[in-house]
Symmetry: D3
Subunit: 157 residues, 6 copies
């Protein structure tokens, strides 16, 4: 059984016990960016991407993804997400769209992953809607902007 | 960026913030009806629909759907559903089945959508089980009967 | 075991075997209606429902639901849905929104349930977005308009 | 309507109302066993199963399944799972792997089904990873070891 | 980077490439058993389990689980399941219920995991429905009975 | 109805019809990078991240996400993913992990979104496992490396 234990030793992933922590208000804001290239950016700004209203679809995708984090990220706790907003800003000089997600809940753990996942999935949805125009787009610098609540306190980038 | 903002303006769907609202007991009752036509109705009443026990399957479908509303309806909050019942009543004169769902929870928002979704999905499951007999069935007047709990108080149709 | 068999007899629901049927092009169109009442209808038409862009959200909800029918309706076969469109039409005289879904695939079974589910879930999403204005809305006459393909051939209401 | 009521009588499955019960700390431990046969057991112990690291994959599968019980088991309540651990032990004499899952939460109902489902799905994942070597494996004696919390109090096998 | 590679080496789980294999008819039959104890068995046989119609609910749970294997078992391929049946048999002498699942499809890989998962989840649903009566039930000897189709040919236990 | 049509005009998102396209072999490779910072990178390389085996968990997360793209990205077609691999490489000089996903299928549309989603979700899982050490990590330059198959032919970055 030594060999077996050895095999097992490294992989002992587990969902950390938070049952002793109180539910408090938690908030997280994350951001990322989709660099579209000139042509796709122009079509997006003019509302002429053939697959439909890119930002409305991407917003819904991001919001829904925030509710599904525990099914996507293996060790994340299920959380009763209580508010999600996804915002977009055009960065004309860079032919990019900035994506921002804000998530809030009352829970024993934070909503950082919910905010980051909302940004990532909204960005992927933008890619999907625009990929017939340009496959060379990139999703860049998805990061946490700030979070508040919980024992570790507030954090800001 | 003006154009972009304009594009974005109309679509700012968001999951409304309920993190300031207390969790209270919420209940909702919804109803709807599947009009089957004479032949499918008779087979259903006699338990002879070939695909199996229609009402048992539809009841399970409705109950499970009530637990999945946040994944179906984009802006609904995830809720810890604490009770779901789905009932059926035969309306012989109309060759119809009345579907009723009752849902209860303690949460910061109500369970109207959970009850309405349970009714709709149970009705769709009845349609599915009977469609080899008659494709002309209709799902009718899915509506909220009453709801209680929450700041907006009780409501009855 | 007699008693047991008896219990079991009525409930023998099963997913019907379609493994002997060829994959052919299937199409289905379904429709339904959300009766909103005057005030909600006016706000919807003017784009002033507070929760956001109702029709964009409902359209995404309907399209995504069409892809998830096998997880909602217990005995439905999983199908590689190949096209989904959800359209809305304002019925000013009735203060209602007509919802239409068209689904297409190549498969061994039809897409009637996919079209009906897309209509139902889009209608539920409209209800959800507007329910702060009026809880008395109803979802009405969800029905199959026509379907084509498969051994049973074409069907039109 | 007599006939109909009769049909309906037996199937009145429902999700039991727990909205009157307080949320308390609940814990459950379950165990089961995968009997692998000599060859698959040896390959597993030596880390030579071709499909990859069996135990790491099975552990993730078990943890994720514990979070999805309400979507698998029709009448289970959704629960905010707060801790999940899945452990494996080699039983060399029997060429078997013992699977143990521990789940904890604060909720109005217990987590027995979460622990049992984690064990079952982890065992199924082990089967899947090893089935190219041996299809004759069996999953054995999946059972509850103990549970604590709730009105019915502690229970130990 | 040596250390890193070493860490990575053992875990290279992957979904095996089946894109070169033809889709052929595949079938699998699996079985398992829930040992209930005398009291729960009697209540089940008499249809008096308080939570509702145990076998109808468990059958639906098993059928739906067969359609969701690719989301539960990490390395399983998504498959268009084309037929699922779940049967139960009372084993009075043992106070047990035998669960059997048969699954069929046309695909590039087999449906062994679909059949085994249907049995496991149906058994878990039986446990869930009866656990208020007896928590000492066990799920036993879940195994593949036979499979046919595919390059590895037929296999029978 | 003019106003209404106007509201509707911009949002006509739809799942594009691919039912006329033949199923051919499709492959896509995507890459991205998680910049960890020195401390988290060192702990990851030494296998000392407290939450468990980061890369094994992230690999499973990425593979499973590739199978769920049609449920995350609203207008993506469901696809029978037939091969998924997720690889990691340590970039010591940058304290980063490079993530690469390769996906293959036979289908009427490509698997670009599957590969990009696998990379994004694996990266998010790495973030989740390491965030107790450092919240300042970033997910960078998620992009398509190449794709082959389909009418639009091969594409390479």
């Amino acid at each position: 059984m030594t060999a077996f234990t050895h095999i097992d030793a490294q992989g002992q992933a587990r969902m950390v016990d938070v049952s002793g922590k109180p539910a408090t208000v938690r908030e997280a804001v994350a951001r990322g960016r989709v660099r579209l290239g000139e042509r796709a950016f122009e079509l997006l700004v003019r509302g002429e991407i053939p697959k439909g209203d890119v930002l409305a679809v991407a917003r819904v995708a991001g919001i829904m993804a925030a509710k599904r984090v525990d099914q996507l990220i293996p060790l994340c706790h299920p959380l009763p997400v209580e508010a999600v907003e996804v915002h977009f800003e055009a960065l004309a000089g860079e032919h990019a769209v900035e994506v921002e997600a804000r998530v809030r809940t009352r829970a024993a753990t934070g909503v950082e992953m919910e905010a980051l996942t909302a940004v990532s999935v909204a960005a992927l949805a933008i890619y999907d809607m625009c990929k017939s125009v340009d496959k060379g787009m990139t999703i860049e610098t998805v990061h946490l902007v700030r979070k508040s609540g919980g024992k570790s306190g507030d954090w800001e980038r």
